[in-house]
Amino acid sequence: MDRYDAIVVGGGHNGLVNGAYLARAGLKTLILERRPMVGGAAITEELRPGFQFTTFSYALSLLRPQIIQELELTKHGFLPLLMSTRFAPGEDGEYLLFNRDHDETLREIARLSPHDADAYEQYSHDLDRVCQAVKPLLDSVPPNLFSDDPEELVAMAALGSRLRGLDKRTLHNAVRLLTGSAADFLDDYFESPLLKGYLASSSIIGSKVGPRSQGSGLVLLFHSLGEHDGEFGAWAFHKGGNGGFTQVLARAAEAFGAEIRLEAPVERVLTRDGEATGVALADGTEIAAEVVVSALDPRRTFLELVEPRELPDDLVEDIRRLKFRGVSSKVNFALDELPTHPVLGARPDLYRGFMNIGPSMDYLERAFDDAKYGWYSEHPYIDCAIQSTIDPDMAPPGKHVLSCFVQYTPYELRESDWEAQREPMADRVQATLESHFPGFGALVLQREVQTPLDIERTVGLSEGNIFAGEFLAPQMFFFRPAPGWSQYRTPIAGYYQCGSGTHPGGCVMGAPGRLAAGQILGDRTRASGA
């Protein structure tokens, strides 16, 4: 039987990060991936000759900067390209077009509301301060609330003292965001419906909440915590898409000595006397390892890879209760030409960033209303990016690829299913695009649709939830994925978790993979010292 120090189940970005850190520390590490390519939901596929599709995940922001440095990613081709514009078409021909010039951005807002231009400065500053306060949490293991271990008590005290060190306003803003709705927060600053719609869009991504739901503030904050070259809330497009990024990770992992095996689905984790001893592949092959790390989501980590009867009842129950409820789809297009919006015309330089079809909070909230009752939005929210304008290698010269992130498209449809509704939903997306980009339909060379069901089937994310477990306060930090199990260990000795279902959560962040590696290596050091 093959024997490794560590086996990582799942070659998504967190599995790759985790495996790279373990290999870097000298562990003989094997990363097992079910599909023919690594990347999980962060892949790029040439679905049509010359056209590169970011099938699922499509941009980079929350990736922890430490990972770039510690895994030496720039040596392996890490290249986060700048998205230089942001465009938000409104209703009735109104729009916001932001470029990289701060003062021009304020002028652009002032066109809609002079009040909001100044308020935007205050909002950005207030949000930056909250992000600065919260950011260290992304890079540390949550203390165990339920432990009497002196180390944990010290960690709790340190957390408490950090909170006490914040100024009143920042702490209050943090609590408002972590517990309240994005609408309440944004209403305190702004009057322009279009600006609020644009900003509130970040509060619903990947989540079954509307901007007026409690909890959308947390999603807004989470998406503001990313950074690009030190700028909070800025997004980048990696060279070659997020598949380009995970290829960089794979090269880094291999450079540290990790072995990656493709088309090697893991059937179950092998255990003996409450300890992990290796894995069994679907073809029956057994591979031994002292450490097994699941990069899969918590449902699969706890309920599928091991026998629930090996776990405490309360954990099993907590995992069964965990909310997934995917609401996001991707509709990706290969286009014959640049689609044009009437106010931007045919200038490719004005399309080099996200285009946000979410013209008001009312629009977003109505889109959510449809989902509440089990149907996809009649007028969907769409986060678009013509990625070939940012990285011309994404499509042949003059041709383009358009990535559309779509909400809401609930995993469970009332009295229907996604086999029946996949194309009608995509038609609706296309019709929405047509209303903003007249003549859009005639440019479409190919359309690829990924509903929550497809995401679940292809990537393995339960219910197609892009964060491997929703971003709800009871599912974060101390409680992610379950109370008492937020420190990447499991009740089975030697069996660990490192997916986005663990703290701090989803997005192409890598923090779970990195923090889990720290725990694994710490445990090994302690065990060998004892």
Partner: protein
């Protein structure tokens, strides 16, 4: 009255920022659009076009031109046959650098020297009885840099011989029916070329290149992006990283080629009996190891940098815009051991980087030093390590 370049009709139409600056008496775009960084990425990821016409250009011709230049230039021009170009420098008789430039060996008895400042008198006054003519052609020739990973594919569709052109090679052809010379040279440290045209043909040639670039993600880039690119590429800038010895008031403002990290130019010096200005001083410096400095790259320790700013309650800035000023460098005992002259946050390296001169005994790659930043209006010393220049050196540059 400020001049415009032969491409101005096109560059002015593209410049949406209204930002221009002066370069050798010419108006050049600082940046064309709101984001200099986007222009920079065009060069690193597809291709960018840069109007480099304001360079000073001298045509040096005649039977004795090679002999003349072999005495004037410190790097051996005889190792650069017709069809190649060479990065070179010229020194004063104390062995201090006057300037650097690129010389193209265009034909057996014909060279084109390009440089940043006027040098006509210095060269012309030293011709003596040799059969050499020196003519300034700065305003007669437009120069267009086409730089980036797609530059070869793009230009070779217009000038097929570009496809096989070696690093620092020279070829010729036509673009839009106008004769052009193409050199595989540039100031970006990437795969790239420069297209040399007669000034009246400039706009037609620009259009030819621009039309061929349609759909390829090619952008015009300005001075801001250029300076980012050249620091990553480890290419020195006169007035920032060194000064001309001719106009220095003391030796602190003078540098030898060895101090600037150009020892590689003199690898064959022992076998080359050529007398050239500054040779004896250079040999003495080599033999007696009297160099005061060595030009190196510095890579800032990211953790220490973050620590310094975070402990002040600040978000660590990562500003890609180059700063061309002196920043002090210290050793572990906090003694001053050098100074950085160009610093920036590099998007491709994801680090703050600098070009700096340090004491020669500290020039070994990996040596730990400290670079002084100003944080909250006081000095903070941040750890950095010495690295070989260029800090960014993609294989495609010379492949």
């Amino acid at each position: 009255m400020i001049r415009t370049t032969p491409f101005h009709e096109r560059t002015s139409a593209l410049n949406e920022t209204g930002l221009w600056q002066h370069w050798s008496g010419h108006l050049v775009a600082t940046r064309y659009q709101a984001s200099d960084k986007f222009e920079y990425f065009a060069v690193r990821n597809s291709a960018g076009i840069f109007d480099t016409s304001p360079l000073y250009k001298y045509r040096i011709a005649g039977r004795d031109s090679e002999r003349f230049l072999s005495g004037m230039l410190a790097r051996d021009i005889r190792t650069c046959p017709p069809g190649l170009a060479q990065y070179t420098t010229w020194l004063d008789d104390r062995g201090f650098v006057l300037e650097d430039g690129v010389i193209q060996h265009r034909a057996p008895d014909e060279f084109l020297l390009t440089c940043a400042e006027p040098n006509l008198a210095w060269f012309a006054d030293r011709v003596g009885r040799l059969a050499v003519t020196i003519e300034e052609v700065s305003l007669d020739i437009g120069a267009l840099a086409v730089q980036g990973p797609r530059s070869r594919e793009l230009l070779s569709r217009l000038v097929p011989s570009v496809g096989e052109l070696p690093f620092f090679g020279i070829t010729s052809g036509t673009i839009a029916g106008r004769p052009v010379t193409v050199t595989r040279t540039g100031y970006t440290g990437d795969l790239g070329y420069e297209v040399w045209v007669e000034a009246p043909d400039a706009v037609a040639v620009w259009d030819g290149v621009w039309d061929a670039a349609e759909g390829y993600g090619v952008l015009a880039y300005g001075m801001d992006a250029l300076y980012m690119l050249r620091i990553e590429a480890g290419l020195l800038l006169l007035g920032a990283d060194f000064d001309s010895s001719r106009f220095a008031f003391n030796d602190a403002h003078r540098s030898t080629p060895l101090e600037l990290g150009w020892a590689w130019m003199f690898k064959g010096l022992e076998d080359d009996d050529r007398p050239f200005i500054g040779r004896r001083a250079l040999e003495r410096e080599r033999a007696e190891k009297t160099s005061r400095w060595r030009m190196v790259g510095l890579v800032v320790d990211w953790e220490d940098y973050d620590r310094v700013y975070s402990s002040a309650g600040l978000i660590p800035p990562k500003d890609h815009r180059p700063v061309h000023e002196d920043w002090m460098v210290y050793d572990a005992d906090r003694s001053r051991v050098g100074y950085a002259t160009s610093i920036m946050y590099s998007p491709v390296l994801q680090r703050h980087i600098a070009m700096a001169r340090v004491r020669p005994d500290l020039a070994k790659p990996g040596t730990r030093v400290f670079l002084e930043f100003t944080v909250d209006h006081h000095y903070e010393q941040v750890a950095a390590h010495v690295a070989r220049l260029p800090l960014y050196n993609p294989p495609r540059k010379t492949a």
